[in-house]
Structures are given as C-alpha cells and as structure tokens.
Point group: C2
Chain length 205, copies 2
DNA sequence: AAAATTAATTAAACGGTGTTTAATAAAGCA
DNA sequence: TGCTTTATTAAACACCGTTTAATTAATTTT
C-alpha cells in the first residue's frame, strides 16, 4: 500500500503548494489581485488543476482564513499568564487590535470579507467554527470578569458581543479607510487612542 | 443659447437615468450583481455610453453612496427635538442602527465597501465629505454631552471615534454575517441587545 | 513487455467583468 | 445643401471563475 500512500502525499503536497502560492500572493498583493490564474501561474500549473484540490475560490480563501485564526490564537497564548480577568480582557483587546493592524489583509479576510463566510454557508459545515472558538475565549474571559464582580447589571452574551463589536469597529473602520474623518492630528493614533478610552470605560464598569 | 441649455438638460437627464438604473439594480440585487452592462441594458443603451457620464464604476457607486448619506441625514432630522444631549446621542445610535439594519446594502456601500472610498482617494476631492459631515454631527453631540457634565476624564475625539466604532462594529458584524457565533437564542436580537448594553454603559459614564 | 485502464493535467471554451477605441449615426450650423 | 460637432455604438482588449473534453502520464492487467 506504499504506493497509494505516496500518491496521497503527492496529492497533499500539491494542495499545500496551491495554498502556499495563494497565501504568498494574497499577502503580497491583496485578495482582489489574487486570481486563480495568478495562483496557477505561480506554481507553474494550468488553472484547471486547482479545481481538483479545491471546490472553488472561496474554499481556498477559507483555508487561508483558518491560518489567520491559528496566527491570532498563537498571539493570544500569552494571555495564560494574566491572572486578573479584567487585565486579561484588556490584553485580549490589545492583542486583537495589534493583530488587525499588523495583518490588515488577513483581518479583512477573517472578519470583513464575504468570501470565507460564504464558503461556510454554502457547504455542509454550517457553523463558523473558527470565529466561534475565538468568541468563546472572549465570552469566558468576560464570564470571569463577571464572577470577579465586574460588569454588574449587564447581560453576558450581549455585553460580549458589544465588546467584540467595539474593537472590531475600530479596526474595520481603519482597514476600510473610514478614519480620515477624525481630526488630522489624531488620525495616526486614533485606533490606539480609542482603545485607551475603551479601557477607561471598562475600568468604570 | 436655448439649444445649449436643452442639451445640458438632456445630458443631465441621461446621467440621472444611469444613476436611477444603478440604484434600482443595486437595491434589487446588491452591488456585486450590478454591472456596467446590467445598467446599460436597463436603460436600453450600450455599455460604452456610461463612460461619457461617469469616469468609472466607482464614480457611480460614489454617487449612490451620497444618496445613502442623504437618506441617513433625513432620518437624523428628528434629533432636533431631543434636547437632552445624552438622550440625543442615544437616539442617534438607534437611528444609525435602524438605518443599517433596514438598508444593509446601502450601509455596506457607505461604511464597509472599498468602491466609493477608493473613488474619493483617486480623485481631486481628497476628503470624504459625506462621512466627515456625519462624524461632525456625532462629535458635536458628544461635545454637548461633555458640556453637560458627562464623560468626565475622556478625550473628545477618541471617544467620538470609539462610540462610532461601537455601533459600526455591531452592524458591520451583522451585515457581514459574523453574528452566528453568538448563542442561537440571542442571535435574532443581538444587535438590539448589544445597543441596550451600550446605553447602560453611556448612562454610567 | 505490451495492452488496457486509471489518474493527473491541460487546452480550450463559456459566459461573465470593467474599460477603451474607432467607427457610425444624429444634430446643429453655415 | 454640405460641413462640423456631438452622441452613440459595435467591437475589441485583457482580464475573471469555472467547466468540459482531450491529452499525457502512471499504474495495473494481460
């Protein structure tokens, strides 16, 4: 059965090469400039081959967005050393925003673009497990905050969504270039400044 | 000079017809399904004619997004009758979110999509005046709140951005279908519930 | 080893996109 | 009327995602 195994590996290898090329081009020139034909060119295969390894373009970008979640989770590892739940929540916010600002195209793919989420909707696995996992971390951190006496009078699920929305709102306005409405002198630092205001608010809750 | 005037009017009229067709198709089937050829078909002209009235597709969608801002400003008119600045701020939030939920495609175009903002960047008028105007309204309402003794210890510009980000975050996560991570029983009402949590927070500030 | 079968890969096409160009039709003016 | 300007279009260009049928390569069977 060694032959079948090797063929399996070969097949897997080309799949990985397609994905690597997609990632390279995507990080290099953005998602819109990354076409099936570009990817095929880059690995020196014909465009058609890609459809033997991926159902369609969305599936490729869904796979790429999974890598983004791994990357984000990696960055979140340091949270293990933050005992105070409120401090942990704030640190989560900082890491989240840093990730978005350092990897805007990846963040865009994960939380703004239609492509990967459409793939989730249009296939069997009708749940966005990557996003669900990340949201769970946030939810449990906020649960810890509540158990520690914070956020009295607030409803956990809605508050969790609100807090996520706040940081997502800031970075997505920045990524989609809606931040030029703020005063010129504040423009460069507005996301960082906004986060600081947010921390002040969290302290008061 | 009557002839020149009439030609002017005719030219303006076709421009309006193109815009009306673009709007119709855009509201009917979304922006991605609205192609130059679709628009041309709809007004029974050839595709080429559109380029005598608009520089490119982005210019059309920029014009459309302007209509969206008019619509939003219209909805904001009722704020004139809300004297209490904090109540006015909350009402602004409600109206903003209602607008986004009732006109998701238009909101998408105004605050999420790349198209219209790219047009702003790639032409002479290097300022996003529609967004700037809306942000000004928010800024001055928040200034009124500060003058009325709210939001002590907060910096106005960053807080304004933060508050905008919060509501934008909620609706943009909803529009871009990232809300399925919340508990199923909360899913239908999560944006409304999140806004209520936000109001509780504003009351505490 | 040769033939038959299966798998991997590609060339070509389909129907779409935004945009540009050169030719045509229409309108206004002399 | 003919001349000039304007409005409009047909056709092409260079892309796009995707599917099909044909081709090449590899494997199995005879």
């Amino acid at each position: 059965m060694g032959i079948a195994d090797r063929k399996e590996r070969d097949k897997e290898e080309l799949r990985e090469r397609i994905l690597a090329a997609a990632k390279f081009l995507f990080l290099e020139k953005g998602i819109d400039k990354t076409s099936i034909r570009n990817i095929a060119d880059h690995i020196e295969y014909s465009p058609g081959i890609i459809y033997h390894y991926f159902k369609d373009k969305n599936e490729i970008f869904h796979a790429l967005h999974q890598l983004g979640f791994l990357q984000l989770m990696e960055k979140m590892q340091v949270l293990g050393s933050v005992r105070n739940p409120l401090e942990r929540l704030k640190a989560m916010g900082s890491i989240y925003i840093d990730f978005a600002m350092e990897n805007p195209d990846m963040y865009d793919l994960m939380f703004i673009k239609e492509a990967p989420i459409d793939h989730v909707c249009n296939t069997e696995h009708d749940h966005w497990k990557e996003g669900g996992g990340a949201f769970n971390s946030l939810r449990s951190t906020i649960a810890d905050c509540i158990n520690a006496g914070h956020f009295k009078g607030h409803e956990q699920e809605a508050l969790t969504f609100l807090i996520w929305s706040t940081v997502h709102g800031m970075v997505s306005l920045h990524i989609r270039k809606r931040c030029e409405v703020v005063l010129p002198e504040s423009q460069q630092t507005i996301v960082k400044d906004g986060l600081e205001e947010f921390f002040k608010i969290l302290d008061k809750l």
